[in-house]
Subunit: 150 residues, 2 copies
């Protein structure tokens, strides 16, 4: 049978979607770490309201405040680089939540990031970062690898 003509099964579609979401999440931290405000600004959704909660700060609930806050952070030449790990994805059609660990020079944060799909691209719609204890033992592999979502 010519497998190339058979549409991919739903499971494979979900894995592709999950990879795309993880790529969008990682790209966000690459833009952060390289202080690339233009790139980071492009990543925010335009089809829904966006929100952002920086550690210990009030919620920013409109696009302008969110982008202004990131511009201020990234303009600072001493802005830290942030590594991302331990991503955990919860997704439904067109919207996803990623829980992940941010590793900065000064400590660790846990972040909840929301994404929406706009056309073919996953855009960030919400970022909530907060202090977290450092990781102690790594979780077992089945908690870190791809998970069946339905």
């Amino acid at each position: 049978m010519a497998r190339g003509r058979i549409p991919p099964p739903a499971e494979s579609f979900e894995e592709d979607e999950q990879e795309a979401i993880l790529a969008a999440n990682r790209a966000f931290y690459v833009a952060f770490s390289s202080r690339d405000f233009e790139a980071l600004a492009e990543m925010w959704a335009t089809s829904v309201p966006v929100a952002c909660v920086h550690p210990g700060q009030p919620a920013l609930l409109d696009r302008e405040s969110v982008l202004r806050s990131w511009q201020a952070i990234l303009r600072n030449p001493n802005a830290p680089k942030a590594g991302v790990s331990d991503e955990f994805v919860i997704m439904r059609q067109g919207l996803a939540i990623v829980i992940c660990r941010e590793t900065l020079p000064g400590g660790q944060l846990l972040a909840t990031n929301g994404f929406v799909r706009e056309g073919e691209v996953w855009k960030i719609v919400h970022h909530h970062a907060a202090p977290a204890p450092p990781a102690t033992t790594p979780p077992p592999p089945q908690q870190r690898d791809r998970r069946k979502l339905h």
Copy 2:
């Protein structure tokens, strides 16, 4: 024209959905404040993985750990009551993110809660609460009222 036979416009459907999401979010805090673990356990989604980040704690990334943590919190006769306010909803078909303020006797938290629709019911799928400064001035009404989402 007999308006009764005309299907409700998409906007009205979205408002109904948003009300249902807000009701689910408030019910979560009612169960919390009344220390009703059975009710709270029922509110967690079963169709997708669930996750929970309590303030300053590691992420809990499986159903059993999440429910065990809530059972421990609600078993404590001194568990605080939590009021909820300033809800902000971001939604797409079947999945929603609610950003809200939790008011406890000891201070204020900001929470990001995720919900999925399972049949006719919105179920919680993620809870991330973290310290926040107290609200200073209320946001302008257009930031607190229903927002167009698309």
